[in-house]
């Protein structure tokens, strides 16, 4: 029989307001094996922890039950507390009487009764706990960053700076991401390329960074400290080691009618291309969907003009295996498709554009060389209407339920730049709210209104009608209580942003959780914002939620710091709650081996002593505790009941069941 101590926490009034903590402590004191029971205001505080340690020593406790908040919150805290007092940390059980009791019930009697039952279950379990010792596993000192936008680049640079090797996997032919397409950045209006491209070069030149461009992660196995990743290098039909990036092929290629995705299809490029002049790596790529040579075997112009002999039409996808200690997800975002919002006539007129397309139209390296011209007729627009919140802040059935966060600011930027470059344009911004929380953000927006004369109208556009070369915009002005009819030359839609489509399958590979909008979930929304709940997976940038550039960079560096902290360790403490077979009961059937997702179970032939001094060799299961993650699938698959899980044994769970149903 264990000597159990019970500690009931008030959590200030969080628990004590709805649970009679004194009564709980009193009733639980009468449970078998309980030698000490008390309650205290903040059990997790210094004083509370000291009280627990003192009681362990004073009453010779062999098991501790803490009735407090969720074990997801403070289980580790209390385990460490008890360990310091000489108790095995796995002799601690938590009864969750806050999240799963006091916070969800209003009636004090009911909540108290439930708290007592939860306490009993924990006591019943702790009686069957056994001291556990965690093993260790080595840490592979190399990190993988998935996504080579500004988030991925920053994370990689910081990790490399700390002296660790890091690989960037980028699905496009160049790193740089969305920021390469942006013209100017708010609120300082410095040019995006001027601040981004040096970082891209830094990444390329850093000896510790390896860039896999035009590549994807195709499988992930293993666990924190020991991930085994397969990277698929897609065939680009150009030998990266030979290509000098001279660009001659991209001028000579006869296939001229390929939509230029870097300019969002606003102009055309060739079938062999380098996305933009500052691309890293500066290597050509053949677009297999359009290349005549690859499709019909007739052409070969690029191969003829390439003096480096880099063109390789036979190139195949290549697969690379690599081991990593940590993985950072930096898959970023995309603007949503706008076909569901055709009241704005996006698919009916080329002069209705998204904000990202507008960025390209304003960009000196864009299709118009930086002069703002209407896509339909190449004329200067004189009246421009910006529409905010297109697809953001919607009911689930109508779009994205969240605020995309960056649109208010970039629209203010667009409006301001239009007025600055072309003072003869009338610029209207239709908004629901202007959201500018950020350093110098609201000042920026006010400048757009006061100094640059942008017409901010509280209201929404209801319909855009292309007619006779104009866009007839019908909108509401809620403060003026009128319906506005504006003959505009261009309409710019601030489309909601969503996580990149590659994120969902990646999350499945990484077993990292996502929310309903496909943003990666952080381990704790406030206290662990750059870690995924899955150990060893870290989050950087907009894959976790909408973010602007400064926030992305901040999170990228934070994720890097977490990775560095992990890679600095030589060994990781493993989870001691692993499966363990009872060799005497094991009949060697292999059922457990088949269900183990980690390959942690193997079979060995072992000699056993039989009756009358005979020996016999039997085939029995063996679990590698460094690999076992403790899911318990094998325990249920085992037909003879030989397999059990430490910390969640059959007996322990049944004791809990009995205590609850008693």
């Amino acid at each position: 029989m264990q000597r159990v101590g019970v500690f009931v926490c008030w959590c200030g009034s969080n628990i004590a307001a709805t649970v009679d903590v004194e009564k709980v402590a009193e009733v639980l004191a009468k449970e078998p094996g309980v030698v000490f029971s008390t309650n205290y205001q903040y059990m997790c505080s210094q004083a509370g922890q000291e009280m627990i340690q003192e009681s362990i020593r004073k009453y010779n406790l062999t098991g501790v039950v803490i009735c407090s908040c969720s074990p997801r919150m403070h289980e580790n805290t209390f385990r460490k507390t008890c360990e310091k007092a000489g108790l095995n940390p796995y002799m601690v059980e938590i009864a969750n009487i806050r999240e799963q009791c006091s916070w969800i019930h209003k009636d004090k009697d009911t909540a108290t009764e439930k708290a007592i039952i939860l306490g009993r279950a924990a006591i019943a379990k702790v009686h069957l706990n056994a001291p556990l010792t965690a093993g260790t596993s080595p840490v592979k000192k190399r990190a993988l960053v998935i996504g080579g936008g500004i988030a991925g680049i920053q994370t990689a640079l910081d990790i490399a700076d700390a002296g660790f090797d890091v690989d960037i996997v980028e699905k496009e032919p160049t790193i740089g991401g969305k920021m390469t397409q942006i013209d100017k950045t708010f609120p300082t209006l410095d040019c995006a390329a001027c601040i981004l491209t040096p970082k891209m070069v830094d990444a390329a030149q850093n000896e510790r960074i390896h860039i896999y461009s035009y590549s994807e992660v195709s499988s992930v196995r293993g666990f924190v400290g020991n991930f085994k990743v397969t990277i698929k290098k897609k065939a680009r039909f150009v030998d990266e080691t030979k290509c000098t990036g001279c660009g001659l092929c991209t001028e000579k290629c006869p296939q001229k009618k390929v939509p230029n995705l870097f300019n969002l299809g606003l102009d055309n490029r060739r079938a062999i291309y380098i996305p933009f002049a500052q691309a890293v790596p500066k290597v050509a790529t053949i677009d297999a969907d359009y290349c005549t040579m690859l499709k019909s075997g007739k052409c070969g112009v690029c191969s003829k003009v390439c003096t480096a002999g880099a063109i390789d039409y036979q190139q195949k996808d290549a697969f690379i295996e690599q081991e990593y200690g940590a993985i950072v997800v930096a898959t970023g975002f995309n603007p949503i498709k706008l076909d569901k919002y055709d009241e704005f006539a996006y698919s009916q007129s080329p002069d209705v554009v998204t904000s990202l397309e507008f960025e390209r139209l304003m960009n000196a390296a864009g299709p118009t060389g930086g002069t703002l011209l209407r896509p339909s007729d190449g004329q200067h627009p004189h009246t421009i209407v910006f529409v905010q919140c297109v697809g953001s802040r919607c009911d689930d059935s109508k779009g994205k339920p969240y605020c995309s966060k960056i649109c208010c600011m970039y629209t203010a930027k667009h409006a301001m730049l239009c007025r600055e470059k072309y003072p003869d344009t009338d610029v209207y911004v239709f908004y629901i709210d202007v959201r500018t929380p950020g350093k110098n953000f609201d000042e920026f927006y006010r400048r757009a209104v006061e100094e640059y004369g942008v017409h901010y109208v509280k209201g929404m556009v209801g319909k855009v009608v292309p007619e006779n070369g104009k866009l007839k915009v019908q909108a509401s002005d809620l403060i003026g209580n009128q319906q506005l009819h504006i003959d505009a030359d261009m309409v710019v839609l601030a489309a909601a942003i969503e996580p990149d489509k590659s994120a969902r399958p990646l999350a499945t590979m990484l077993t990292a959780s996502m929310d309903t909008n496909d943003f990666f979930t952080e381990a704790h929304p406030k206290l662990r914002p750059v870690e995924s709940p899955t150990a060893g997976i870290f989050l950087s940038g907009a894959c976790q939620g909408p973010k602007d550039i400064p926030e992305t960079v901040a999170q990228a560096s934070a994720a890097a710091a977490k990775v560095i902290g992990l890679l600095n360790k030589d060994h990781l403490i493993c989870n001691p709650c692993t499966a363990t077979p009872d060799e005497m009961m094991c009949n060697g059937c292999s059922s457990c081996e088949k269900v183990c997702p980690y390959g942690a179970i193997t079979y060995i032939d072992k000699e056993f002593r039989g009756p009358n001094r005979t020996t016999l060799i039997r085939r029995v299961a063996q679990v590698n505790p460094a690999v076992c993650q403790g899911c318990g699938a094998c325990t249920v698959a085992c037909p003879s009941g030989a397999m059990d899980l430490k910390g969640f044994s059959n007996k322990q769970i049944m004791a809990e069941v009995d205590a609850i149903c008693r």
Partner: protein
């Protein structure tokens, strides 16, 4: 294929053309419209009030009559289509309405929206197929530039109607292509014509219709087609300087070569 057919009040009087050419074309295309024997007027507007049951009953009776024959219910008039489809949707999704209706009509098993409601155009698109229709055309309307006027009733609210993209529909354009003419896409084809407000305020309908006509003309349309008698009326009677307007069934009958015989 045989469908139950709900013509509606207007198609028996002022909107006979929509009906006659629709039936003649159906015959030519190889499907049968079986008029429900005792249909009652649908009420022309969908009863939005959640506390009104009586106004939904005529639709329910028609739906159940079609259901008993195991047929889908086809309509031609877009108002009837709107009302019947939405009432059907109510019965399908709203338990309270379903129960009330069942008690009102003394039904042993409540009607839960089992019958499919199809617009004639949906039959052409989803059951016949515009490709098949194209093959049956004997008299292609080559060279005619036709603007489709959808109006409100067929499209909105899209979540309930499920007819087509409510802001950029294509079904009538595909239809126009199938009968050999050239569709003209213009943005106001789903803006309201003024509806029943024409009774009290012709000027209002004129304002609406003129905007629609200007937009259609600017985009190059030379004539308009519609599926709604009230839209047809407003477009014809209340336009300051309008384009010719016809029911889509008229052009269908013309293309199939059954127009004259039907009259």
């Amino acid at each position: 294929m045989t469908y139950s057919y709900f013509p509606g009040c207007t198609l028996k009087t002022k909107g006979k053309d929509l009906d006659i050419w629709g039936r003649a074309s159906a015959e030519a295309l190889g499907f049968t419209l079986e008029e429900l024997p005792d249909w009652q007027c649908c009420g022309a507007v969908y009863p939005m009030a959640r506390d009104e049951i009586a106004t939904k009953l005529s639709s329910v009776r028609a739906l159940m009559a079609a259901g008993e024959k195991g047929q889908a219910l086809v309509t031609l008039c877009s108002a009837c289509h709107h009302v019947i489809k939405r009432v059907n949707n109510d019965l399908r999704t709203d338990e309270a309405i379903r129960d009330k209706v069942a008690r009102y009509l003394k039904l042993e098993t409540p009607y839960a929206g089992e019958t499919d409601v199809l617009h004639y155009l949906e039959v052409l698109r989803d059951k016949i197929g515009f490709d098949k229709l194209k093959e049956k055309v004997v008299n292609p309307l080559t060279g005619r530039k036709i603007g489709a006027y959808y109006g409100c009733m067929l499209l909105r609210p899209a979540q309930e109607m499920g007819f087509d993209d409510p802001e950029n529909p294509t079904i009538l354009e595909d239809f126009i292509r199938a009968i050999g003419a050239e569709p003209v896409i213009y943005a106001r084809r789903n803006e309201c014509c003024g509806g029943y407000c024409t009774i009290k305020d012709k000027g209002f309908a004129t304002k609406q219709v003129d905007a629609i006509m200007d937009n259609a003309k600017a985009c190059g349309a030379e004539e308009l087609i519609t599926a709604c008698p009230l839209c047809l009326y407003n477009l014809k009677e209340n336009a300051t300087e309008g384009l010719p307007v016809a029911y889509f069934t008229e052009l269908l009958a013309e293309a199939l070569g059954v127009k004259e015989a039907a009259k």
